[in-house]
Each structure stands twice: as C-alpha cells, then as structure tokens.
C-alpha cells in the first residue's frame, strides 16, 4: 500500500495566500472525481479538501493496491473559492512508490568456490528480500545464469560460473542488475 502525496500553496494574483479554497481532483481517463486522503495514515476518503491560512493544501492519493490509481495516471486539479476565479491544472502526475534499479559488477571481494565458480555478497540496500535479479556477461554482452541466495532484506549472495584460461581471476566480467522496492 502506498499513497502519493501532492501539496501546493494557493496564492492570489498579489501573492497573498488564499485560505478556505476548495481543492478537488479528477481522474483524466474518465473525468471522475478522485477520492483521496488528507493525511498519510488517515482512514477516511474525501472528495475535497480546503486550503489552510497559509494557502496550503495537501492530498494523499491511494495507489492501485489500495483501490486507487496507476503509476501513470494523470489528474486535473481544480481550485475554487469565493475570493478567486476557479483554476484548473491538467496533467498532474503523482509518484506511487517507484522501484529502484541497481547494478553491481563482480570485480572485487570475490569468494572462490570450486574451479570456475565465483561468489560475491552484494549489499543492495533495497529493503527487498527477494528482488528481481539478472546477470550479464559484459564481454560477450549476453545474459547468463547465476545462482542467488537472499541473505537479508538488504543483501544477497550471487554465485556465477565463469570459465577462463586461468583460475582464479581477481575479477570476472559479470554484472548483476537488481530491481526492488527500495522502501
């Protein structure tokens, strides 16, 4: 579950904050009114919020996991009030907990297993126990098979078979790429 936070200060044409203005959001795929939260942890969905004395409003829009919206949804923001003309901003993009892409080269701190087998512990810090992993031979530019063991939410062990004329090598041309939540 994740909510995307969006906030702004609403000012009049002289730069003075407008308090009490009504703020609503619409889903641009179907122009439907968006239900959102006014706090990160609140349980009640609302259809609008109002600006504070400093003109500040903030909304927390639920992601698809929470019955809300997709990463690439866009929204229209509408702000209205008795002391202002209604304003509309289209194409508002929000940020729903993106994953993170990491790369690690097996060029140092290698452990040696049996002949032509190498192992390395990678500290990826993705806070993801079982991340998405792929290995590439950077010389041939081809994908290769590796064996992985999860050590913790932040680390994995990777073992690779790499055959070369001399064994062992100080480094091998293997790149490990990972994708995780990074929460």
């Amino acid at each position: 579950m994740a909510r995307s936070h969006f906030w702004q200060h609403i000012l009049n044409s002289e730069g003075v904050p407008i308090s009490g203005a009504t703020v609503t959001l619409f889903d641009e795929t179907d122009d439907s009114e968006v239900l959102f939260y006014t706090r990160e942890s609140s349980a009640s969905l609302v259809t609008y919020t109002t600006t504070s004395s400093s003109g500040l409003f903030e909304v927390w829009v639920p992601d698809r996991v929470e019955g809300g919206y997709g990463t690439n949804a866009t929204f229209t923001l509408v702000v209205s009030g008795s002391e202002m003309d209604t304003r509309m901003i289209t194409g508002v993009q929000l940020l729903f907990q993106p994953p993170r892409f990491c790369e690690f080269d097996m060029f140092s701190r290698l452990s040696l297993l049996e002949e032509h087998y190498y192992s390395i512990n990678i500290q990826h810090n993705l806070n993801t126990e079982h991340p998405y992993i792929q290995a590439w031979n950077t010389q041939t530019r081809q994908t290769m098979d590796v064996s992985c063991s999860s050590i913790s939410l932040s680390a994995i062990s990777v073992s690779a078979y790499y055959e070369s004329e001399y064994w062992p090598q100080d480094s091998i041309p293997v790149r490990i790429v990972l994708l995780g939540e990074d929460t």
């Binding site: 000012l11 003075v16 993170r100 892409f101 994908t143």
Partner: protein
Amino acid sequence: MARAHFWQHILNSEGQPISGATITLDEDITGLPISFYTTAAGGTKVSYVETNKYGFFEIWVPDKEISLDNGYATNTTFTLNVSSASLGLLEPITGIQLLFQPPRVFTDIFLDSESEIANPATNVYSVVVEHMLHTDFPLVNAWLDTQSIPISCTSIDSDSLSVSAYSTIAPTKFYVNVVGKDL
C-alpha cells in the same frame, strides 16, 4: 550515486519572499534531521540551508545506493521545516516524496503474423527490441503467448538487444519487458 533535487520559494502571508529563512529536513519515520547537499554533484553535506532574497532554496538529498553516502531510499518521506527570525517556525510539511532516479519499464509485442519473430534455428525464436532505455545491461523477461519462458539475451547497444527463446510450439506473439535506468 544519485541525488534528488528539491526546491521551493518561501513567501510570507502577504506573498513577499522571505530571505534568510532556515530550511531543514527531517526523515519522517525516525524524526531525525538529515544532511543534504546544496549542489547536484560534489560538495559536502550540510544540515540546513537558507533562502535567498527571492525566498528560493534548493537542496540535493543523497540516495541510498551502495555508496558510503548514508543516503535515503526511494520511498522515504521527509518533513520540511522552515523558520525565520521574523516569523518563527512556519507550518511544517510532512510526507515529502523525492525522486531518486526511478527506472522505466519498456514493453513491446512482436507478432508472427507481421513476420516480426525470427526463427533462426529449430524451435528457437528471437526478436530485436529497441528499448531506448540507455542501459547496456537491463532486466529482461519475456512471454511467448501466455507462457513466461527462460530467455537468452544479447545486448546490441545501450538502446537495443536481441532476445531468444526456445519453444517447441511456434508462438503467435512474443512479449518482452525491459527495465532500465532511462537516463
């Protein structure tokens, strides 16, 4: 290593810029103040920054990549604190989300009916994907019709790769997902 850029203009209740206001950031979960940079690259970390005569400030928050930078995860949220001698402590803003270089997913579909799937050897099917992700060694997975399948990839350059799969049944559709940095 990547840094997330965050910038704002700070104004008083009459819309005039507040110069010399002190800006700090706290990590939401721990409540601890964080250190950040004032430039996109290089420099040393600081614990606060001040607004200029336009009320403008900008900070660069380090990410949590394997670097020894002790930075923050993609989905960390922060509280922005603003204080000035004339106005005291202004309304803090919680739940600020920063953007630490999110990856991008590229998806493509290749149709046998359009002769987009090559058949270089018996039971081997391959496609060339122009993913344009600027990533030499991305994450790749593929599906033949409704089945996920082991694949072998060759990186052609940072924007394209070839994907081969073994199947005893000729596919009508070859789906490929590529995840990369998209820098």
